[in-house]
């Protein structure tokens, strides 16, 4: 036996490749198409080496290259007004966008998918989803301060849902809790369309001073390239190209080993270590290692810099010494970072590593050749223009067309359908309907999940689940802080993708404004089926067009995000699910508005108007119906409502505010009452009269641009005057009743809060223990 493990491969050098043009390469197994392989040969002027092939295959995968969506995603950069640019410090393209918060503070946030790994191995998939998004935030120079997780799983009663639920929630908690990042919100949706393709999205937010913003580039000839953090192992090899870019079907062998394994302790140490590096200005450029590992980090750092880079691959510290060069380049081992350090800072850099007991190895240096050269014991195995790897991947204009079935789906309205038979109208029926709604899988209390997450760590969480937005303080002196909400409605988007995406944005925007924060920026995670299906491609194109148009109208830019395609089982795609995160700013988090009322006698107002909009609603979902058109989008109204909520919060005119969305007014009234166990007396006759709707519709319609607020008596005149001056519909629908312990709605049998709470909270424990 020999200890010279590095000798055991037949190294396919560049020289060798040039001499052996006809060698068969496994490009198809690595997920490349014939035209893509031909393009690589053309770019290089020869066949790629094995190592080069590995790099191109992962970097040109759908997951890393956005080859199907790029042509559409451009709109996020093009449809931008001066208003939207005002506070954007770093836009799309970097690890995460950066927004100016004022007072020298900046905030960075991003949402990403970790869908396929979370289906294969829910615990590790969800855990490493958190790990990856947090490293994106660190690599911008920021201290991560919170995370959020929008989740979409299959039917609540399907046997496999429990597997995914237990694993993903434990993984998010196990990793996030151990990092010391409060989990401040998210979503939980059950729908059988996600049965074989659960959506596990992860959002992280970080803050920094302006001068600490870091970018991923390698500049300055002679500067050193260092890899630090965990060792490189065999986990996640080919994950990016193989897992995230193909659909699951039964014809291929198991892909289980391609899921990465997380080590949250290593990541926590890495966070502190990086912050110390930033504090000492010890790194020139930094990049996290996520999908495509070293392939991605070296090619992105080199192509974003002004020169080239030379790296010796045998210097990489390995967990598994048998890894081949190609595997090392593709490995997606977690908790690793790559940085560029000036020679003068090497000593200081090493001192920080030693303090935190973090392993590191110097791999090479920045050059001025414009080439990315990777050697194996001095022999060149990669010699490429890094741009061709990182940025010049294939771009496809995938064909798309409005599906033939779209018209018939839209023509099938809930009202008057078979499923609508026996619509509740009597007081007992309506009370039962309200109870059924708030106990339903999508509307029930999510505390079974959120109590497994630490929301306190850091001491800056001003608001978290179940309020409309998560709120975190940034500056302890001034109270400056940020609010975040994520939303999506797959059913709305299925019915009408352009509008559905806008409704997701509208809801997240409304949630942030409801908390009292001024919406500032957007990050999106576009979860769709296969782009090779023209129906799905149309959904994607329409959703992007809708979202980018709506961002322009609301005046808030998309600063980053991610696209997750091929979320389908066989030929059946998930509902198109653009998950939209909106970030807002609060000058003083002490002024944030919670979703529940507390004080007896306060007036309850409904803002906005109600139309008969039940298509795509939670109620229709409960009756097993999906058809018609989603609620109307009115972005001008959303903006006006937002301004009212923000002003009301700033001037102390409201004590509670809750947006109306899924489940309509019925869900909002119950949630605001249960928040603090304080009931209300509600009368909707005037609303029904004004808007021309019946009581059922008033309660269950999901008309947009609405919110309920509780107004202290002393503020009522001022509040009404403000709404009147802004020409926004507002109606007093009731009063807070602290003594009764019930929610009384005229025309609906009395609902005791105890019974509502019982119904609301029993659902998840019933299915998941």
């Amino acid at each position: 036996m020999t200890t010279e493990t590095t000798k055991k491969f037949n190294i396919d050098t560049v020289e060798h490749a040039a001499k052996t043009p006809d060698t068969e390469l496994p490009w198809a197994e690595l997920g490349l198409k014939q035209n893509e392989f031909d393009e690589i040969v053309k770019v290089l002027g020869r066949r790629p080496t094995g190592a080069e092939l590995a790099m191109y295959s992962v970097m040109w995968s759908e997951h890393c290259s956005y080859k199907s969506s790029k042509n559409h995603l451009r709109q996020f950069g093009e449809k931008v007004t001066e208003e939207m640019k005002k506070d954007m410090l770093v836009g799309i393209g970097e690890n995460a966008g950066v927004t100016n918060l004022g007072d020298g503070w900046a905030v960075t946030f991003k949402i990403e998918s970790h869908n396929s790994p979370s289906f294969v191995e829910p615990y590790q998939g969800a855990a490493t989803g958190i790990g990856g998004i947090v490293r994106d935030i660190i690599s911008m120079g920021a201290r991560p301060v919170a995370v959020m997780d929008p989740l979409r799983f299959g039917a609540i009663d399907h046997p496999d849902t429990a597997r995914v639920m237990h694993g993903a929630v434990a993984g998010i908690g196990g990793y996030g809790n151990c990092l010391g990042l409060p989990n401040i919100g998210g979503e939980m949706v059950f729908d059988s369309v996600y049965q074989g393709n659960p959506l596990v999205n992860a959002l992280a937010v970080g803050v920094m001073r302006h001068e600490d913003i870091r970018l991923a580039n390698a500049s300055g000839k002679g500067n050193k390239v260092v890899l630090f953090g965990a060792r490189t192992g065999g986990d996640g090899i080919g994950g990016a190209s193989v897992l995230a870019s193909e659909s699951f079907d039964d014809t291929k062998p198991s892909k289980r080993p391609a899921v990465q394994v997380g080590d949250p302790f290593a990541e926590k140490v890495l966070i502190e270590c990086c912050l110390e590096l930033f504090k000492g200005s010890l790194v020139e450029g930094i990049q996290d290692l996520g999908a495509a590992g070293i392939s991605c980090a070296t090619s992105e750092l080199a192509s974003n810099g002004d020169g080239g880079m030379e790296v010796e691959l045998t210097s990489v510290l390995l967990r598994d010494p048998t890894l081949t060069p190609g595997e090392i380049l593709m490995s997606e081992s977690q908790e690793r970072m790559m940085a560029v350090v000036t020679p003068e800072n090497i000593e200081a850099f090493e001192a920080v590593m030693d303090k935190w007991a973090v392993e590191y190895s110097w791999l090479g240096e920045v050059t001025d050749t414009g080439r990315l050269i990777i050697t194996w014991e001095g022999e060149v195995i990669v010699d490429v223009d890094p741009r061709t790897v990182a940025h010049d991947g294939p771009v496809y204009d995938r064909p798309f067309a409005r599906p033939e079935w779209q018209d018939s789906v839209q023509a099938n309205s809930f009202t008057g359908s078979v499923e609508d038979a026996g619509r509740p109208s009597a007081p007992t029926e309506l009370a039962a309907a309200v109870t059924e709604l708030v106990a339903s899988p999508n509307m029930c209390s999510k505390s079974w999940i959120t109590k497994q997450y630490d929301r306190y760590v850091g001491g800056n969480t001003a608001m978290a689940f179940p309020d409309d937005a998560g709120v975190v303080r940034v500056d302890e002196e001034t109270g400056l802080g940020v609010a975040l909400a994520t939303d999506a409605n797959g059913r709305y988007t299925y019915l009408e993708p352009y509008q559905g995406a806008q409704l997701a944005l509208a809801e997240a925007y409304r949630n942030v404004a409801t908390s009292g924060a001024v919406p500032m920026a957007v990050s999106d995670c576009l979860n769709f089926g296969s782009p090779e299906d023209p129906d799905v491609m149309w959904q994607l194109a329409e959703a992007i067009r809708g979202l980018s148009d709506a961002c322009m109208e609301l005046g808030i830019p998309v600063t980053g995000g991610n696209v997750s395609l091929y979320n389908q089982t066989g030929t059946t795609p998930i509902h198109p699910s653009p998950v939209v995160a909106v970030l807002g700013k609060l000058d003083d988090v002490a002024r944030r508005t919670p979703s529940g009322w507390r004080e007896d006698g306060q007036a309850i107002y409904l803002l906005g108007t109600t139309a008969a909009e039940l298509d795509g609603s939670e109620w229709s979902n409960l009756r097993g119906h999906l058809g018609g058109l989603p609620p109307k989008v009115d972005l001008a109204a959303e903006r006006a409502l937002g301004e009212i909520l923000i002003n009301a919060s700033r001037d102390g005119m409201v004590d509670a505010a809750h947006d109306l969305s899924e489940g309509g007014l019925a869900a909002a009234l119950v949630e605001s009452s249960l928040r603090y166990g304080v009931g209300a007396r509600i009368a909707l006759e005037e609303l029904m009269e004004r808007d021309g709707v019946d009581l059922f519709t008033a309660l269950f319609s999901e008309s947009q641009a609405r919110a309920i607020v509780s107004v202290p008596r002393s503020e009522e005149v001022r509040f009404k005057d403000m709404c009147t001056a802004r020409g926004f519909a507002h109606l007093r629908i009731g009063v807070v009743d602290a003594a009764g312990g019930k929610l009384e709605i005229n025309g609906v049998d009395e609902l005791s809060l105890d019974a509502l709470r019982e119904a609301h909270e029993a659902t998840l424990p019933k299915y998941f223990g």
Partner: protein, 256 residues
Amino acid sequence: MTSIPLIGEAVAVAAEPRLAGAKIGVVTFPGTLDDRDAARAVRLAGGTAVSLWHADSELGDVDAVIIPGGFSYGDYLRAGAISRFAPLMSKIIDAANSDAKLPVLGICNGFQILTESHLLPGSMIKNDHLKFICRDQTLRVENANTAWTVDYTDGQEIIVPLKNQDGQYIADEKTLDALEAEGRVVFRYVGFNPNGSRRDIAGISNAAGNVVGLMPHPEHAVEAGFGPESLNGEPRDTDGLGFFTSVLTKIVGGDK
């Protein structure tokens, strides 16, 4: 070189000069999470927080020590089992056992480190329901006579956050009986035992009362607007401040 005003630093407090002189060390291990929170709690109580690093071999001139929560070394072994061997821990153990009786508070992972160090008896195992749990927890102060509880009263009920995975306190019956008899059960869970701890024990002390460990997190209930609330929305966000004012009172001696 830029200076990052890290979140969790520099909250201005109208400090009582007498208290501000008291220095409370807050230990950071690799994987410690709540060190900045503990330091903030000390500042909000009026004292001066001093950062201590696990690998340091000297304790310096601190008047008390807090071992905060987190997942030191990832809790991949028994929680606290590795941290217990940190160079600084041997200094803390000596100081706690010395005649000067250095006040030491272990919170959550800190409590686990104190049991591993044998400064406190018993141990923590995985919660009986096998899940991480985060909730606003009601505690009853069973002994308001320790270095960390003199600002509470016996029987007082407080609400502080609880968040743990391995929080089930266990000890043999003899030890439990001795703890009860000697008044060393300092806190008990009220209303709901969140992890299956024996006899609803949330926190205990050593015989001298200078070393206290508990699973819940008083440092997360020290500031208005950033802590727990009662079920009906009444703010209970500063119920934990008493831990930190207690030790400061103790250090400066006599009445505040």
